[in-house]
Symmetry: C2
Subunit: 209 residues, 2 copies
Amino acid sequence: MRFHDCSTAPSPRRVRIFMAEKGISLPTVQVDLKSGEHLEPAFRRLNPWCTVPVLELDDGTCISEAMAVCRFLEEIHPDPPLMGRDAREKGLVAMWEHRCEIDGFLAAAEALRNATPRMKGRALPGPEPYEQIPALAERGRKRVQGFFKALDQRLADSAFLAGDTYTVADITAQVAVDFAGWIKLTIPEALVHARRWHDSVSARPSAGA
Amino acid sequence: MRFHDCSTAPSPRRVRIFMAEKGISLPTVQVDLKSGEHLEPAFRRLNPWCTVPVLELDDGTCISEAMAVCRFLEEIHPDPPLMGRDAREKGLVAMWEHRCEIDGFLAAAEALRNATPRMKGRALPGPEPYEQIPALAERGRKRVQGFFKALDQRLADSAFLAGDTYTVADITAQVAVDFAGWIKLTIPEALVHARRWHDSVSARPSAGA
């Protein structure tokens, strides 16, 4: 198995943290997003959507999309469980993970990609060029601020997003919060529950991944 | 258990089809999205994101987000498996499902919500009002057309999206294609593989869900 990564990119970081929590170490190939290596034919054969991460299995099968890679790894390396232990918890983890991806991760990406000069014509990941939409950058920033508040409300009642234990939902939320830092948005001081949680997940050894 | 649904909405339709394939029938509550019932306090207590579907468990736990509801149901009612049978297939199903959601389902939603007069101020689902962005409606339409092509390329090599068997990835893609019909986008005649697949999934009894 080989893990196709880009050490500076937030999406594969979700999988890197997931692997660090499980103690999984894989041969890793760095994909140079800056030079556009992900848009070249060699990488496109692995992943037509031109995104990292990609997990290349020994039979040549390629699994892309961060959560799909995590799903595969959870199955072959179930301990510690990061996607829930029973049906109820699996549902709650999937629910929180998905909301944090949509409201946090994708909102931050929207804000960044629609405003950064070096991302002109790259407002969406993938092979097709998409022009920036300034109103979307603005909307993304507003959504990230709403995401911080939603985190705080949830974490007022719960140690972690899906319940008492750390799961992949916390990973997506953590990476989304750190990614929002790229556009200079941080959890406001007043949101003490979200800050407590962010300090806690950031203190785990996996946070360096 | 109670299923909070809206019989005309595409997102809960994903779960309705999933349940029909498994032969699951649940007490169902219809939520009137037209009158804004999903934005009222009673519904917000079930789901602060104000979206359907929601599965309310007997202990009061509420699971929202279509794929999270499917994940729960897959665990308590594993046959027939719709989210993959082994690690590799589970990874591939999650990968295709996620891409079809982002490129198909969300793109169609983007196109619809940013252009329809009755959705002014409702460009995103959820409790917060968001103004329409006309450029985003345009981009959504372009993305849906790319989604049709990507489906066709994949289905030239494979009976179903994740491989030889029908899975939840096909459900999300099917609902996305039908949802795109709301904005008058249909799979072009020339994309014979995507059309063959769509005819095939539409002929299943679950398609009426």
